[in-house]
Amino acid sequence: MSEQTREEKVMLYSDEVLDNIKKNVLSKEDFFIEYDKLLNSYTKLLKRYKKIVKLSDAFNNSLVNDNKEISQKARAKIMNNASDQRKLKEKMAISMLSDKKQIEYLSKSLESAISEIRILKEKTKVRFIEKNKL
């Protein structure tokens, strides 16, 4: 069985007092004493209720602010990532361009080397024939 809360105890006590008033067993003096006790209890409960509301609002506001901060950081990170990605793409494009130029240069060099080899081969062939003639 769960424990009675303070609110439940105050309500139960109020019922008892009300019963005693109905039964006319309370003197006027006792009535004022009981009334004062109940008023004190209600005042304490109201104070506690206000504290709960105040603290709950404070926790809620801090949560909202934390969420806002997190979403701002996440947005900033996404933006940074996008900008980093753009920079990377630009670098890759430059690098690809330079690779293309390099390939063109190497192809031309290879072609000229092949043609030089061909000429040298011809020259060697001619020299060989002339040597054999002699």
Binding site: S2, E3, R6, R48, K51, I52, L55, S56, A58
Partner: protein
């Protein structure tokens, strides 16, 4: 009495009540889906435990970082039980532990301390 151990989740605190040492720790966040369902066994256990002890000193360490409104209400209920037990002669020490830059948890501790004047209630900044 057996120890009460409840592991923390994303929404509920870690609860470790060691009956051998008389040291009871609650730490973490508290915003359960059903707060009363979560705390009813805890308050019942505490109520039964404080009744069963022979006036040995009990130390309650609360190290909470977030409480929703219904959790706040549950802690008022727990402290009501402890205050009642203290008024009946038990020796109870409450340590409300918080990060020094956490104003809200500090304020929560101050509000509890104000409400439970008769308890030995220590506010401890980390």
């Amino acid at each position: 009495m057996e120890n009460l151990i409840i592991s923390k989740t994303n929404y509920t605190p870690d609860i470790n009540f060691d009956t051998d040492t008389g040291i009871l720790n609650i730490s973490g966040k508290s915003y359960p889906e059903n707060t009363f369902e979560f705390y009813t066994p805890v308050t019942s256990w505490i109520a039964e435990y404080v009744k069963s002890t022979n006036n040995e000193k009990l130390i309650f360490n609360f190290e909470l970082t977030y409480l929703n409104s219904s959790s706040l209400k549950s802690y008022f209920d727990i402290l009501d039980i402890l205050e009642e037990s203290h008024n009946e002669g038990s020796s109870i020490e409450i340590n409300w532990i918080y990060e020094s830059d956490d104003d809200i948890i500090e304020e929560t501790g101050e509000d509890f301390k104000e409400d439970f004047e008769s308890l030995e209630f220590n506010l401890i900044a980390k």
